[in-house]
Amino acid sequence: MIELWQIYVTGAAALAIVGVYCVASRRNMIRTVIGIEIITAAINLNFIAFGSRTGQVDSLAQSIVFTSIVIGASIAAVALSIVINAYRHYGTLDLRKLSRLRW
């Protein structure tokens, strides 16, 4: 018998894969940031799904998800501010153009 939380955990894994694909394949810097946010959402969903397993709400899962949302927002803010600065220097959001650094 498949329980509801198992469906959510599977969904979270699928969402994480979508996010990783988005980061890996998109060439637009803003889409990279969106990909990171999708992965954050997937992990939050994972926590909530595991937290509701006993049928009750677990305060640990709730509090870590709240904190994680705030942290995700700050990362997005920093990332987008870097994107703005990159746009000022390069005049484009294409990641392939940002390859002046050697390996």
């Binding site: 990171i36 870097i82 650094l101």
Partner: protein, 518 residues
């Protein structure tokens, strides 16, 4: 209300960071802009003082903890927990932070927005100490992200140039993906045990670990190694580091290379050794293999560099490889030999991991010294190209001499600090005579040490012994407050090399805490 002693080092830094804009505004009004720098340095000194107090208290009474709130009975909670292992790393983090703050007094004066710079530096060190003082994964993650976000902004601090922006974006994406991977592992761990507290997870693994799905357990260990391995710059996850370190201001390069990558090592070792029994789960071999691959690849890459800071960045990756290998040898000895000879396996593990912790300290002071020195050179000469910097050591006698000491220490020349820790790690590898695999790993390490010493000496010869070019004819010694931390760190390298005893004792104590009870 008295503030608990474990909170003091973190709160001092955070509170100073919070009031930094007010201090800066007041200082500007009083026409004494440098006051904010002095306040930041004082905050680091106060934090260091309370860390030393905490260290003495831990020596006397054992681990200290402070619980903010719990998630129900027997669940643990938001817990600040400081034991020897944490306070050892915390003192390294705060000590390098103090040196960098003193250095920034003159080095950063050409930049604007310094109130934000100091606030971010204080938050960075507060986050680092917080990571070292976490009693659960929840806390660790929050402090970890605090540290990461402030280091992204510090790398891109000179945003008017293209290089920091590009390197910063690369760093942000890679490091965030790494921390999210670790967080995914934490969520799996939470789903399995219903808890994130280290002590509770450890009890759970002892009681239920054998029944749990081994694939899932190894998946979690993999996420911890790979997730924190991005920040620790483990090959093949290192590619952000050689871009971010040179692009950042030199003071921040010293911070990143000296301590931020060590936070990755700390979290990885704490997450693995504190929860998963090293004599049951075989993560030691994985760490060891990644370690020697890291050493070898980074050594080859370092040879090809023309930029002095980039060369030093690759050398940081090499040293992370040594630390990882030391941790790995400890785990390997425990997992393969604790059934046959538990006492002997434990002593090898303590030797190897103690050596890795000692190397963490040595690399923090050595590489902090080298990046601050290269900052002095770059500040005075205006270039990072090794060919342009030839012979600059003759012009800048204090920085040059300290640079020499730092390079020799990291090359592992006997009376200096780096020699002892490398010797410990390599000797631990040879201490089990009839294990061919361990011997192979140690031989690779020895070959790499010799190889690394050759390019350190090559760099030394070019910086110190060549005739200066006409372009750097007018170079003078850097200002006093920039030379002071450099000279202090150089003295530390020599003193620790000549009298390694006290630090080795602390590192061994810390190792025993890490491996305690297994």
């Amino acid at each position: 209300m008295e503030i608990p002693i474990v909170l003091q080092p973190i709160l001092v830094l955070l509170a100073t960071a919070g009031i930094m804009p007010i201090i800066a505004a007041l200082a500007r009004a009083a026409k004494a802009e440098k006051a904010r720098d002095v306040v930041a340095i004082a905050a680091f000194a106060a934090s260091m003082y309370s860390l030393v107090q905490l260290y003495q208290k831990i020596m006397a009474d054992g681990a200290q903890r402070y619980v903010f709130a719990t998630f129900g009975p027997d669940r643990g909670g938001v817990e600040i927990y400081a034991d020897m292992y944490g306070v050892y790393f915390g003192m390294i983090f705060c000590g390098i932070g103090l040196m960098v703050a003193i250095y920034s007094f003159r080095y950063m004066e050409v930049d604007t927005g310094l109130d934000r710079y100091y606030a971010l530096l204080l938050i960075l060190v507060a986050g680092l100490i917080g990571v070292a003082f976490s009693g659960d994964f929840f806390n660790l993650f929050v402090f970890w992200e605090m540290m990461c976000i402030s280091s992204y902004t510090l790398v891109t601090f000179r945003k008017y140039r293209w290089e920091p922006v590009e390197a910063g974006f690369k760093y942000l994406v890679m490091s965030t993906l790494g921390s999210l991977l670790a967080l995914y592992g934490m969520s799996m761990l939470y789903g399995m045990a219903g808890n994130l507290n280290f002590a509770a997870l450890r009890t759970f693994m002892v009681a239920e670990g054998a029944k749990a799905n081994p694939f899932m357990l190894y998946f979690i260990m993999g996420t911890i190694i790979a997730g924190f391995g991005v920040t620790a710059a483990m090959v093949p996850l290192h590619t952000w580091l050689p871009d971010a370190h040179p692009a950042a201001p030199s003071s921040i390069s010293a911070m990143l290379s000296g301590v931020v990558i060590k936070a990755g090592i700390y979290s990885m070792s704490r997450g693995l050794f504190a929860i998963f029994n090293p004599s049951v789960f075989d993560y030691g071999t994985v760490l060891m293999i990644f370690g020697v691959v890291t050493i070898t690849v980074a050594n080859i890459m370092a040879l090809m560099q023309r930029d002095v800071k980039r060369l030093l960045a690759y050398s940081s990756i090499v040293n992370i490889g040594y630390i990882l290998t030391g941790l790995g040898i400890g785990g390997y000895a425990l997992v393969h030999y604790s059934a046959a000879a538990p006492e002997a396996a434990m002593s090898v593990a303590i030797f190897a991991i103690g050596g890795a912790l000692f190397h963490t300290f040595n690399h923090a002071i050595g590489k902090g010294l080298l990046f601050l020195c290269s900052g002095c050179f770059v500040h005075e000469a205006g270039t990072r190209d090794i060919a342009e910097l030839e012979g600059i050591g003759k012009k800048m006698i204090f920085s040059g001499t300290s640079f020499t000491i730092g390079l020799l220490a990291l090359a592992g020349i006997p009376p200096l600090s780096g020699f002892w820790s490398k010797l410990f790690i390599i000797l631990a590898g040879f201490s089990i005579p009839d294990d061919g695999f361990l011997k192979l790993i140690s031989i690779i390490m020895v070959v790499n040490s010799v190889f690394a010493a050759s390019y350190y000496l090559w760099l030394l010869q070019r910086i110190m012994l060549k005739t200066p070019k006409s372009t750097i004819e007018r170079v003078r010694e850097a200002p006093f407050t920039m030379v002071l931390p450099v000279v202090l760190l150089a003295i530390a390298c020599v003193v620790v090399g000549v009298f390694p005893g006290p630090i080795i004792r602390v590192a061994t104590e810390a190792t025993k805490v890490l491996l305690g009870g297994w």
